[in-house]
Symmetry: C2
Subunit: 202 residues, 2 copies
Amino acid sequence: MPRDEHQNREIRDARRDQLLEAASVIFARRGMAGTKISDVAKEAKLSHGLVYHYFNSKEQLFYELVKKASERSMVSLTKALEVEGTPLDQLTLMTEEILRSIEHGNELHLFVIMIQASTSDAVPEQVTSLLSDVNHSPVKAILPMLIAGQERGEIVQDDPVQLAVAYYAMIQGLAINKIQWKECPIPKASILLRLFTSKGGE
Amino acid sequence: MPRDEHQNREIRDARRDQLLEAASVIFARRGMAGTKISDVAKEAKLSHGLVYHYFNSKEQLFYELVKKASERSMVSLTKALEVEGTPLDQLTLMTEEILRSIEHGNELHLFVIMIQASTSDAVPEQVTSLLSDVNHSPVKAILPMLIAGQERGEIVQDDPVQLAVAYYAMIQGLAINKIQWKECPIPKASILLRLFTSKGGE
DNA sequence: GTCTATAACACGATAGAC
DNA sequence: GTCTATCGTGTTATAGAC
């Protein structure tokens, strides 16, 4: 008894997700160049031939993951911007959300893949151009919040770019740390936020 | 006219350094698995056959670099411990030195290679065991300074492990950032150190 | 000490059976 | 839709000329 089109579609979607999930694990561990299609297939418990049934190439597979990652990375940020409250409130909420997701380790692989994508030049052209749009400036993205906070006097009067760089570096570093060291204690949001608040208080 | 043994030795040392230097650039950019011996040779402007004259394998080449990197990474730390002054003085000096070296970009490649070595499992067994000795605990290394500082009341009374993790994550993140984004403005030491100083002042 | 040529092999990608 | 068998390329590593 033949499957109908609807069932086929469900199977295809499931397989695609299965492969993307497996690929994110392997890519995060071994990088773009170090990843073998056969390892991805093994992780997904499917044959390596099937990978090419769903994706044109290893590069495309990597591209899809970076796209997914960069979409997700903007979620926390836009959420933060919708929150009622002062800039510092928004930053606090955003930080807590990011730390939770690092702690929980759910989308950690995607995070690391984005870092790889921007540090390694072993990645396809298509990917780097995608990144210059989105990832190139998570720093720029939080800049407005910092400046607004400085105007209200709730954020310290340092160079806001330096503040943003330090903040983003810490997030990146924590994600990397967490992947390598599972039991790594993730700091509380209040520690990260101390970057922004002046010593003398306000 | 034949070269004598001394001249030969000088040539060998020079070539070895030349290859290690080139390899650190390529490994940092493309990772262990992504690095091709021919690329290293090209970077060093030598033939790829010569690489195998000086190193047994790609893995050994990588191993030598990680060893070199882990030796260097302890330098800033031990220097800091020799400084006369309070724990916060020592941390300040250490931070300034590390930021200078990131800013200057001199040993950045080695730094990134160490991060790769600990995040990727595409590295040889020999390397990971080397790392568990040295790199596994730069966090542990600064812990005593933090605790001493807390006793003197010059460092905030948060969980010192969380403080150390946050600090080290920021350093790592800055190094990674700098490699990908050459003009990245490196924050002043005072910004990083704000992690450690209490909001209310002392 | 340095190079070029080549052996041996691994991996990405495809073809075709079921 | 999924698998196994296979091709072709490119890479590690070696051999041997200079």
